[in-house]
Symmetry: C2
Subunit: 204 residues, 2 copies
DNA sequence: CCTTTTCTGTAGTGATCGATACATAAATAC
DNA sequence: GTATTTATGTATCGATCACTACAGAAAAGG
């Protein structure tokens, strides 16, 4: 525990939260160091001393985002008694969260860095990994549904997880285009309309 | 027809096509003038003389994209005999087009500029307008289905159009993450699984 | 006290951003 | 021919990019 030296005069976590907000609105490459330091209330040397680089700051911001903003959505998967309810509540919470007007619309993980270029492969890789984790969480919940007899044994959990993950990704773009919670819930209803067909026939 | 003056030494349309490819891969702000001129085989003064500005070049590139790359997908809507087949073929052509390996994955209109900032409001507005046009095309095809008796009179065409547009947007991100055509077709199957439920109950 | 360690603000670094000035080249108009 | 018009290549422009050198300030260790 390094208590030596001049103590930091700003709240590191609060600054990180502000940086997360900037990345959320503007994306990785759209957020300049000036934007970040202005929002964080510090000068650039403090940013580099505390976080290392813009890239490292972004990675910490996505980690915070996953923990703070994303947790509630994904908790729905575990808590719901059936796979069907789990998916439905997961999408409904997504609709609500993505359209809140007191924060940026859509998802930082989905929209943060879609265009790979030479300098930010690590950023894209990190976001892709997180998106893959989300897909895996959906698939595992569906597999639990199969194991518990709610879904037929031939159910293609991976394909259905891809479908619902794709819907969620699309909702990020709809939300970024200004879609209301009501509009997003209409999409959720559409996605859930697929459930009975898929659950009945063994999917896909 | 201005035949006066020194004639242009490059093919304007071919250069525009190359610029479109750069914007498609890297997005609006990810594509630098250097990237563009290198791909177009010209120097920056020629770019500005022929296209005016980076912003104007992008707008022309999206227009070309809509006309060349997007036409085939949207033609499916008009040609198919039923609304159901129209939507299904529309999504299937999307799956194929977005996953082609001889061009960038996903859609330029969807992925080109998702982060609004002060300098590129016109770009975002243009892409949003094109996305809105796509939504309107889907809605109109569904309304035709209602008019022709294929769909019930209470069918919520706008909401269902939103659902399928959202799926298509999500497919852009999946494709950008490396999803194969097969994987995208699984998502299409999922989306179409919703059809019979929506068509039977009056949707949403 | 003095040294060490760490943070802070000022003021930059070289690189690259989008966009141009300028002289020259190549066409038409007369 | 000369004048006019437009395109081209070189060589930038000021602004901003991500990042940092440096000196002073504020703490602990001795």
């Amino acid at each position: 525990m390094p208590e030596r030296g001049r103590p930091r005069t700003f709240d590191r976590t609060a600054a990180l939260r502000h940086a997360m907000g900037v990345f959320w609105v503007q994306g990785y490459e759209g957020a300049s160091i000036s934007d970040l330091t202005a929002a964080m209330g510090i000068n650039s040397p403090s940013l580099y001393a505390a976080f290392g680089s813009k890239e490292a700051l972004f990675l910490e911001a996505t980690e915070l985002y996953t923990r703070i903003e994303g947790a509630d959505i994904w908790l729905a998967l575990e808590e719901a008694p059936t796979a069907r309810l789990a998916i439905e509540r997961f999408l409904q919470r997504t609709a609500k969260a993505y359209s809140q007007t007191d924060r940026p619309q859509g998802c930082l993980i989905t929209l943060g860095a879609l265009h790979q270029d030479s300098t930010r492969g690590a950023i894209c890789d990190d976001l892709r990994r997180r998106r893959a984790e989300n897909h895996a969480a959906l698939r595992k919940r569906l597999e639990r549904g199969v194991a518990e007899g709610e879904l037929p044994s031939g159910f293609d959990c991976a394909a259905v997880a891809t479908f619902f993950a794709t819907v969620q990704h699309g909702m990020s773009i709809q939300a970024r285009d200004g879609a209301s919670c009501t509009a997003l819930l209409a999409t959720v209803a559409g996605a859930m309309a697929a459930w009975q067909t898929m659950a009945g026939t063994g999917a896909a």
